[in-house]
């Protein structure tokens, strides 16, 4: 496949804003790196959202990143994301590392620019566990090779995908092959397309050189029954069609009796190509796609995407819009957690909780429907505001929900929290400690259950979250039970936030007063030529977003949702990156289940609260 394209002189490489002395003084990490690695730093600056950016020589990436993680003055212990950006026209592909320091509350983006002839970086899997899957995704989508990566193979596309690297600009939206050829190929897959080489070797195909992991003495004591039984390890395939994997997740498990020795997750069965498709849609047309990524809490995605574009545009939304977005976000957090509660309970055998939680969900769906017309696919935000103002009577319905919801939560808690079966199935199962949780990049309730009080709403408040009085629940043991308790408490805190927002909901306009961004009202559009032209331009062309890049993150129901956007000043995004929290969270599954019993795989997988639409995107 062609990897080099003739450079297009009209396309300029998008640069962060030039460095200033003030910026350098402000950000100690950039200062330290500049002092330490004088010849590795190419450029420093800030992007449109004020995010500090450090551009380094690609050959030195491991060195610089190790310094940033290990130096106590920097302590970037949390790697939020690794992703690529291809601007097309033969310019170098950028690889972004999004870093966050829990200790210093500081953020930084490290960018490497790789020419198309030399798409190689050194792996950082030895620094952060979470880099494993993120690097594989970057390899899968852009063809960037990470030297030293233990298992660099495709992750979202099939193992032997032959059409190329989908997120490259030279890759056509509909793929390289014809549709009939794509259907023919997908139905004639061989074993090598479905299993990793390692798994085939474990199952006895090929050379069989992969040693099987022996159980440790703790896992199998001297007097264990298994020692007296003849047997051999077994490879089972769980999913992609399985009632308890919460979607089309596939796990290959190597079992020793009932005990899980190895767990290899396979994802990508729902890879929908969101990021590629968004590059072919106007800025506002992307909003409906965001619904379908996390369909358990769609409005959180709507709000995050609109917030990201507004940051790049540099517009400030109205007070009323801000408060309404907070209400919707928190309602959707409850919506997502309720589904988690119901399905997890059903996985562990408690059916009643499922019915109770869906009863409450239907009430939130009714609120969705009254506002947007859709139950799940809401598409509620527009850049610069919302699709409409709240309908009459909506606030009263919301108040009624907020009053009645806690009683259902109490009921569910009465059924589960002190239930002997529930406690036996969840307590001390799937434990992860705080350091490992941070290294695996866990966010949201999964991280907080391990005792790390990291919540984007507190750490980097957005939408005015600093004005609301709420607590961040934190667990102690980091097991399945703690994740359950944290989520239950988070729903109560969300109700508190909604109550406060309802009590102080400002009046005034919902959308901003800038007809270059939002549609003018119909009455005005027909009244004067200026507004009519604006209306026409917005409908026919769409918004124009100034050239630049930004990173905007919110606390979604599953964890930190980061949205990276690159614009070249046109009416469509050049790159839309969605850092879905589920993608990173599920990567910790092997760590959590290896050594546990096979029945606990269900409990642990459910406790991570993943949604496949977001994992596979």
């Amino acid at each position: 496949m062609p990897t080099t394209v003739a450079p297009d002189p009209t396309r300029q490489l998008i640069r962060a804003e030039p460095r200033t002395e003030a910026d350098l003084a402000e950000h100690p990490s950039i200062q330290a790196v500049s002092a330490q690695f004088t010849d590795a730093v190419r450029d420093v600056g800030r992007d449109a959202s004020g995010y500090p950016v450090l551009r380094i020589e690609p050959e030195r990436n491991h060195e610089v990143l190790r310094f940033l993680r290990d130096d106590p003055e920097q302590a970037f212990d949390f790697l939020a994301d690794i992703t690529g950006v291809d601007l097309g026209g033969g310019v170098p592909i950028q690889v972004w590392y999004q870093l966050w320091s829990m200790r210093h509350g500081r953020q930084l983006r490290v960018v490497c620019e790789l020419p198309l002839t030399q798409l190689t970086l050194t792996t950082v899997t030895d620094l952060w566990h979470t880099a494993d899957w993120l690097e594989r995704e970057t390899f899968d989508m852009f063809g960037v090779t990470f030297e030293g990566h233990p298992d660099l193979r495709r992750i979202l596309m099939p193992e032997n995908y032959e059409e190329g690297f989908p997120l490259r600009k030279d890759f056509p939206l509909r793929g390289r092959f014809s549709r009939s050829e794509q259907v023919r190929r997908c139905l004639s897959r061989s074993l090598e397309d479905v299993y990793a080489t390692e798994e085939l070797q474990m199952a006895g195909y090929g050379d069989g050189t992969v040693p099987l992991r022996e159980p440790t003495p703790a896992e199998r004591p001297e007097d264990a029954l298994e020692n007296r039984l003849e047997g051999e390890p077994m490879l089972i395939n769980m999913g992609p069609q399985h009632p308890a994997t919460h979607g089309v997740l596939r796990l290959v498990l190597q079992l020793d009796g009932e005990r899980v020795m190895r767990c290899i997750p396979h994802i990508g069965y729902l890879h929908t190509g969101f990021e590629k498709t968004c590059e072919f849609r106007e800025w506002n047309q992307v909003v409906p796609y965001t619904d379908r990524m996390d369909y358990l809490a769609p409005m959180l995605y709507n709000v995050a995407y609109a917030g990201a574009v507004e940051t790049l545009l540099g517009v400030e939304i109205t007070e009323r819009c801000r408060a309404v977005r907070v209400i919707l976000c928190e309602l959707n957090r409850i919506l997502g957690h309720l589904l988690w509660l119901g399905t997890t309970a059903i996985d562990l055998g408690a059916f009643t909780v499922f019915l109770y939680s869906f009863k409450e969900r239907e009430k939130i769906y009714n609120l969705h429907e009254a506002y947007t017309g859709g139950r799940i696919t809401t598409s509620v935000t527009r850049v610069g505001g919302m699709m409409a103002d709240l309908p009459v009577g909506w606030l009263d319905a919301c108040r009624e929900f907020v009053e009645n919801c806690p009683s259902t939560l109490d009921e569910c808690e009465r059924l589960l929290s002190r239930n002997a079966i529930w406690m036996a199935r969840t307590q001390d199962i799937g434990i992860i400690g705080p350091e490992e949780a941070v290294s695996y990049g866990l966010t949201g309730p999964n991280l907080r259950a391990s005792g790390v009080p990291y919540d984007v709403r507190k750490a980097r408040p957005y939408l005015g979250y600093e004005q609301y009085d709420f607590d961040v629940p934190v667990g102690v043991h980091g097991d399945v039970y703690d994740r359950y308790m944290v989520r239950l408490e988070e729903m109560r805190q969300s109700i508190r936030i909604v109550e406060q927002a309802l009590a102080h909901l400002p009046d005034g306009p919902m959308n901003i007063d800038d007809y270059r961004v939002v549609l003018p009202p119909k009455s005005e559009a027909m009244g004067s030529i200026d507004t009519m032209i604006s209306h026409f331009k917005l409908v026919m062309e769409g918004i124009r977003v100034p050239a630049g890049e930004t990173w905007y993150s919110i606390e979604a129901s599953k964890g930190e949702l980061g949205i990276g956007i690159v614009s070249d000043g046109g009416t469509k995004p050049v790159r839309c990156r969605f850092r879905g929290p589920s993608f990173v969270n599920i990567a910790a599954l092997p760590y959590l289940v290896e050594g546990e019993l096979v029945a606990d795989v269900i409990a642990v997988n459910a406790s991570l609260d993943v949604v496949l639409g977001e994992i596979d995107r």
Partner: protein
């Protein structure tokens, strides 16, 4: 074709089995039993699966139609509900599940993505699952409300009413079709053109009419052609 015509066993197909009062009554009893105890195999992938769960939960309660026994193994199911987008990576899995289901079996394509690729006309989404497996009822919507799914399931029930054991090919398994696309390459190209999947679905699927009850005969005709 009127509704009444379809409810009668199809007299145009010569099966060699004489139409008698006994065989038609037997059909009646068997179809009554089949349509009121459908065991769905929920092949849920995305947003539609959440609406399918809502259809099974407290407010909508699919159990009222004899379908609350969700069968998570294809070998004990007779109705595959494909709810959500199907990727090329997932398509062989879906085809395998369909092949594993014993006859008689039906398939519901729930939602825009399963029926036509929906809003995802890109490199990874199958442009309509009828390119992979035969579909009996398409439920429109993105996602369809639970009422929409239930209406689709009632259409399946209606369709079962018109079936007869005397049809020679309707419920026969074709070993050659296992693991193969449901449509020929030209037909796949036709549905996969931009907008083709929404405008040409009926033609390619062999559905000359949009009427729910008329579909059964269409499918038999197509199967007959396939046999020839």
């Amino acid at each position: 074709m009127t509704k009444l015509d379809v409810l009668q066993p199809d007299s145009s197909v010569d099966t060699g089995i004489p139409r008698s009062w006994v065989t038609t009554r037997l059909d009646h009893v068997i179809n009554w039993a089949r349509r009121n105890s459908l065991w769905p195999m929920p092949f849920g992938t995305a947003c539609c699966a959440i609406e399918m769960m809502a259809a099974a939960a407290s407010k909508y309660d699919i159990g009222r139609f004899g379908m609350e026994r969700m069968s998570f193994t294809p070998r004990q199911a007779d109705l595959m509900i494909v709810a959500g987008r199907v990727t090329y990576k997932l398509a062989p899995v879906m085809r395998r599940i369909w092949d594993q289901m014993p006859q008689p079996k039906w398939c519901v394509s729930m939602g825009a993505c399963a029926s036509s690729g929906g809003m995802f006309d890109n490199y990874t989404i199958v442009q309509g699952i009828d390119t992979i497996v035969p579909v009996d009822v398409y439920v429109p919507g993105c996602p369809p409300r639970p009422e929409g799914l239930m209406y689709g399931l009632l259409m399946i029930q209606e369709k079962i009413k018109g079936e007869s054991l005397a049809h020679p090919v309707a419920r026969a398994e074709d070993p050659d079709a296992v693991g193969r696309p449901n449509l020929p390459p030209e037909a796949i190209e036709l549905v996969a053109q931009p907008f083709g999947n929404s405008t040409k679905q009926n033609r390619v699927s062999g559905l000359s009419s949009n009427s729910a009850v008329a579909r059964e005969r269409d499918r038999i005709e197509r199967l007959m052609e396939h046999r020839e």
